[in-house]
Symmetry: C2
Subunit: 858 residues, 2 copies
């Protein structure tokens, strides 16, 4: 056993602990001699940084780096240290090593506020000596070319890794290799053909080539190591790192599969799973966008056969409509809505009903497909049997927690209220501006009213969403800290959940308003509904609100994707890196020299720290919402999402490889709470689509007309049927149009879109029987649609097995092989034992002593 090298404690000039990077325990059994430790990825940087990867002796690798500020100037900025699942943080949790002070994550900040420099140094010393007690080896470096920063490099020796591996029940590959056989001859031939066909789609890395041989793996056990561990194969199993840069983080390979195995080896399972998930999602978007485009094209092709829009565009149907606003607006002819009506048909045709059902099943298929993929990865990555366990860090009673929970609830409701208020504000803006502009004396202003108002309102909406998104992220974090969750995992989950709720409400409230409320709360001519007693509520253009919903959806979706993803995700990290670099330069003495000979661990210091996967997932989940929730009104959403994601994958890859400090490799079996959120969205999507089809589109009224009211079973007369009559003499005083003679004739009866009794009925302007009939059919459609789609989703869920068949066959095969291996080993041991029985008494193979029956006779 080697004893850890001692060193003299550093002087009193530092503040906190900043952990940059780790070579995780996960790499055990894979690469014991490779050169990756820090961000060793970019090829040209490799050569002059190489020596920074090892201790001074050039032999022991740097597995983890801690940095701290040396007190020379006032250090204003602090890095919060990040510790996730790895050998030594687990030891901290287990309580064997006292952490610097409380939880390192939160602790570092408080730390600098409350402790004198001496205390900090003392804490650090204590912490470091505990690390050494556990067998870790440390080397300090305060005289780097980066002034003001001290580095503690940590090396984990083999025996420590082994011990931790056994506790974590990591699986190790055994010597035993077996061939993974394909099914029958025909299946094999087809597979070979498919493999050849998709050859150019696969990344150019070695892992794809050796698919039909697999090592048996077994939970790591030091006792069984001697006959299990297959040493010879490791060198070959680990590919070069430049590959990751060339075959993944590059736009030129956008059409290829991702080298998920490599990503996992370099970044750990958690990030590997994210990219695998993103890959599956993007792949699944391909059929969805294809069908979406077909549905859209169907709409384009049939637009000329649509009888209702033909009727609207027909000059012979001389229908006079009631004015759209009080006083300023005049009567108008239905034929002016011809363009809108034709455009509506693109998104409002029977094919969209089919598409909604298709997308609900698509979502179910996607969830299933991902479950299977995850299972496969779990198997390939030997994660079966791995369980994430975290201790509770905080013990609080319900009474302690109550105030925090109440604050949370109130704040969440308040924030949701703020969103509603803002949406309402935008509505009022739109109404008031419209009526103000209509009043304008300038005729060009008046003619462009609709366009001006719509555009400005949409932009305001988008800007508000983007700003609130950032605010809500911060609020959610603050609220979660207030809650003091018991474990890191619980913290993350609660944070994600809150952020999700807020961002989701933020993104979808305006859309829900347009889909379900706009144009529904207008009242009727002669008895309109007013906001603030003077502004009439908005109406939709003729042909349903579906068109406006569609416009709003595309603006929000495209705007969010372009601005948030590209501007925020690429621009801001670059900017931050630049700022950090400039700051440090200003502070330095020999700038030129330093620039050239920076050690690897020094250059990494200037990179942005890894902030977790939450923003990446969140972005995709909100996008998933756009793709599934209102797909009935916007069949092109999957296509937009697909185009965005193809860029997104490579963008994220670049960011992870070059722009960020290397994240700690964390183990994970699944994507955690995100899966539940996805399931939740798919469920909500079914009911929302049901409502969009029945209430936003004209699908049901058409159906009802055709089968219940049409005299000849065709759609002829539908437009007339949906328009009620209004006697202009029934206008309230001061609400009738100022210029009633805009048209050439005197208007006595105008029409409006609603199912109401005509003025000459015994109950004028009452809701008519047709209204109730249509409503009943609409509601029945919702029930049928929801239950049928839910049933179909359940059936999809049920008939697709969660574990792919080949994987379950292989797992079973491995079990048999393992049993055989042990049986053979046992027989060999038995023989050895019989010959040298006396020599072996500190660990005797148990005699069947507890079963006396089997010994006393025969």
């Amino acid at each position: 056993m080697r004893r850890p090298e001692k060193y003299t404690p550093v002087p009193v000039r530092e503040t906190g602990v900043d952990i940059i990077n780790i070579k995780g325990i996960e790499d055990i059994g894979y690469a014991q001699q490779d050169s990756i430790l820090l961000n060793a990825l970019v090829p040209e940087e490799n050569t002059h940084c190489r020596q920074g990867l090892y201790f001074q002796d050039g032999q022991r690798r740097v597995d983890y780096v801690l940095t701290y500020h040396i007190k020379k100037q006032s250090s204003s900025r602090r890095h919060s240290s990040r510790l996730t699942d790895n050998a030594f943080t687990r030891s901290l949790r287990r309580g064997r090593v006292p952490p610097p002070k409380g939880d390192p994550e939160v602790g570092a900040q408080e730390h600098s506020l409350h402790y004198h420099e001496d205390d900090k140094r003392f804490c650090r010393d204590e912490f470091e000596s505990s690390l050494m007690e556990m067998g870790l080896e440390l080397e300090k470096d305060e005289h780097t070319k980066t002034p003001g920063v001290g580095f503690v490099k940590i090396h984990a020796p083999w025996h420590v890794l082994c011990r931790e591996a056994e506790f974590m029940k990591l699986k190790m590959p055994t010597k035993k290799v077996y061939e993974v056989k394909q099914g029958s001859n025909l299946v094999e031939k087809i597979n070979t053909f498919i493999t050849k066909l998709t050859e150019p789609l696969h990344p150019n890395v070695e892992e794809n080539r050796i698919q039909n041989v697999k090592h048996l793996s077994y939970p790591f056990s030091r006792e069984k190591q001697h006959f299990l561990l297959a040493n010879g194969v490791y060198m070959a199993a680990y590919p070069l790192h430049d590959l990751l840069y060339e075959e993944w983080a590059s736009y030129s390979v956008f059409y290829k599969y991702q080298p998920v195995g490599l990503i996992r080896k370099y970044f750990g399972e958690k990030i590997g799973l994210y990219f695998a998930w993103l890959g599956v999602y993007t792949q699944m978007l391909i059929p969805a966008s294809l069908v979406g485009v077909i549905v859209f094209l169907y709409g384009c092709a049939t637009v000329d056969d649509d009888i209702p829009s033909m009727e609207i565009c027909d000059k012979r149907n001389n229908i006079t409509m009631c004015p759209l606003c009080d006083r300023a607006c005049s009567y108008w002819k239905l034929i002016t809505a011809c363009g809108t009506a034709r455009a509506s048909h693109l998104f409002d045709n029977p094919a969209t009903v089919f598409f909604s059902i298709f997308m609900a099943l698509w979502a179910a298929m996607f969830m299933e497909h991902w479950k299977r993929r995850q299972m496969r990865l779990n198997y390939i990555w030997d994660l079966t049997g791995f369980e994430d366990e975290e201790p509770e860090k905080v013990k609080l009673t319900c009474k302690d927690r109550l105030p925090a929970y109440m604050t949370n609830l109130v704040m969440m409701l308040f924030m949701i209220g703020v969103t509603f208020a803002i949406v309402f504000g935008v509505i009022v803006y739109r109404i008031s501006t419209t009526s103000a502009l209509y009043m304008s004396s300038n005729p060009t202003t008046r003619s462009n009213v609709r366009l001006t108002v719509k555009t400005t309102a949409a932009i305001i909406n988008l800007v508000v969403i983007l700003i609130l998104d950032e605010v809500y992220g911060a609020v959610a974090r603050w609220l979660t800290i207030l809650e003091v969750p018991k474990t890191d995992k619980s913290f993350e989950e609660r944070l994600i959940f809150k952020t999700f709720i807020l961002k989701f409400v933020n993104a979808f409230t305006p859309i829900i308003y347009i889909a379900f409320f706009r144009g529904r709360l207008v009242g009727r001519p002669g008895s309109y509904l007013y906001v603030f007693e003077s502004y009439r509520m908005e109406e939709c253009a003729h042909g349903g609100c579906l068109m406006e919903l569609c416009i709003q959806l595309s603006i929000t979706m495209l705007g969010k994707q372009l601005i948030q993803n590209n501007l925020f995700e690429i621009g801001i990290p670059k900017l931050k890196k630049l700022i950090r670099y400039i700051k440090s330069k200003r502070r330095a003495f020999q700038e030129e020299e330093q620039d050239k000979k920076l050690q690897r661990y020094e250059t990494d210091h200037f990179l942005e720290p890894f902030a977790g996967l939450t923003p990446e997932y969140m972005e995709m989940i909100i996008q998933f919402g756009f793709v599934t929730l209102f797909v009935a009104s916007f069949p092109l959403a999957p296509l937009f999402a697909l185009l965005n994601n193809i860029i997104e994958i490579r963008l994220d890859a670049k960011k992870f490889v070059v722009e960020l400090r290397r994240p700690i490799a964390a183990r994970a079996k699944d994507i955690g709470i995100w899966y539940n959120i996805l399931r939740g969205i798919s469920k909500v999507a079914v009911i929302i689509n049901a409502f969009v089809i029945s209430f936003t589109s004209d699908f049901i009224p058409r159906l009802v007309y055709q089968y219940m009211y049409s005299p000849d079973g065709s759609m002829h007369g539908f437009v007339n049927h949906t328009l009620s009559y209004f006697n202009v003499s029934d206008f309230q005083e001061g609400k009738d149009p100022l210029e009633p003679t805009d048209l050439e004739y005197k208007v006595e009866i105008c029409r409006y879109k609603d199912y109401r009794e005509p003025p000459w009925s015994p109950t004028p302007y009452e809701i008519s029987k047709e209204f109730w009939t249509v409503l009943a059919v609409k509601l029945a459609f919702v029930i049928v649609f929801q239950n049928v789609v839910m049933l179909m989703s359940d059936v999809v869920d049920w008939i697709i097995p969660d574990i792919p068949k080949d994987i379950s066959v292989q797992i079973h095969k491995e079990k048999i092989l393992m049993v055989e291996l042990f049986m053979k080993e046992e027989q060999g041991k038995m023989q050895t034992l019989e010959s040298k029985d006396s020599c072996n008494n500190h660990s005797p193979v148990p005699r069947p002593r507890s079963f006396p029956n089997s010994h006393t006779n025969d």
Copy 2:
């Protein structure tokens, strides 16, 4: 190592292999010296059977018995042998021992048909020698007092058990004992108080007393056995077996909890889980029946305040109703429906809406509660980490399977069609008998028409259900055998699924007819709907069909429970036992003598073999359906179920302990497919209850009347509002009543229950606006109810953690203790190793050879 005792093969006079019983591998680590092997439960039988529990040497226990027929007389009856999960069947599957021929379960039957006696003997010899090769020890006994039957007794020695335990990764308790601490002082006090309070409810067995000490457990490993195995504690941990008989299988302890731990130890986890589940279900029924009774009492208490039934019973409202059948029936006065209307109120009041919501949440709670209980049992029984693995026995391509699948589909549809046809037949019987009896000249017959027809129809229905239940069970089994499922588990699941579908449809079709179709397809006066052109469809009594639904539900539920459970479950096994015993007696020579000195394994031979848990679960699941599906119409269902189950538990217990051969102890982590079926039923229950409330009960029409049509916002005038007018001159020819002057006055206008236009409207007898309004509200209610309840269920599912908190804390604690134990052990070993290094070379503790870096420096 002992060598298995050899014996001379038996002569050529036997036919098949019949396995009676096993002492499962599960008992390892618990009781190595106890006397249970076969059905050793009933105390008085214990003494003279004791010697049958051991081999001739009186030392080795009989762990399993195989029986076969010795060819002396023509053996007509065959026992199929039953092999489920245990050490040696698993070996069979693993392919190490060639089974007698194919799958023993199915094989035994085919066997006798195709093989000559010689072949059978040869097969048996080969099989037995394979067993011996695996280390099992055998003893044959052909000269028992039961003639014609040969017994092979099998004993599994300790080392074989150890090997199998390691392969199965059984957990063993370690020496380490730790105290399970309760929370704070207050919590502890409360717990103590509750424990004291519920003291009499707990069975009088030892396991409940030592709750706060638990042994650490660890997957069985022969290498670690020496320092892990805690020998001293075993004797105390195993209680006596009479306890099971006295404290469980007795009606006198019906109010107590079940000794689930004991049941599991004796019968294995699978049966243990069944009884635990039954216990949880019964326990959960207590609050449900309580609330149900309260709801019923609320109905009773408010019956006099119900305005609609007051109006019906009011003589001043002289309402003349249209005749209920053609020709024979006359006009009738609404007041005659007074009794029914009042009775309807008992089940049709706003409280039932609340009760439906309550029961939907109850079902969600039940599922959650069971998940937690299962988790707790998994932990206590050390099943965490256990995975059931079965190989595929049959390899068939899709093409091979297609015919079987098609047959399955067609047969299932056919059987469901048969059910529908029978229900339709009963309806026709009811209609035709009613009209025939009305035609009768006997006045007493005519006055009892309703009662006679209803009673006979209900009995016919019940009998048909009972008969079809048996038929469907057989059909499902036949269809599943046709399918040739890949594994035993898959066989069981498919069988259960099919049986469930058929029995479910069988039980609920008549009820669904009454709830949703009866009285809805009657047409209207003057234009009735006819079956076979002469029989008018049935109408419900005034006050909705809810009352009839309620009657049908209680008859089916009570009838099924009384007849199926008690008669079939108790009576038939007793009968079968008697027959088997008599048959054997007739065959024997010295009856008297044999009767007294039968060995344990001989008496067990006369018991009914264990037929699996499927019938027990099925019965309970169908009952669960009655409790949840139509609970809106029958709030007393939970109470009936509770009363039945209290008896059912003890009845099943008695059956398992005394009436059946001891089942093979099978391991199981959960209740398998039953859980999914339960979930499915709870989901369907939500939508069905939504429909029952809106369409079967009068809840929505009342609501609509009160808030939309009532002149004063009260319910006054509701009855009048729901009745449409009919002009008697509009009757079709030959359909008008024969005796129109049954009442004292001439009827010109009669009333019927529907929302239609009056005769004097421009569109007489058309469906009115009120109809569509009510329909729309009904449908809206269904949507709101379904989604709100589903959301609430999901919330319940989400806020109740699947793993009880104390269990997760304990699991974490155990992990830490285990790590500490290993660390200590390792340190001790290290020291030993350093001193006696040379002596220990057949199994060297690995030096860190694969990590050269850590060795070359310092």
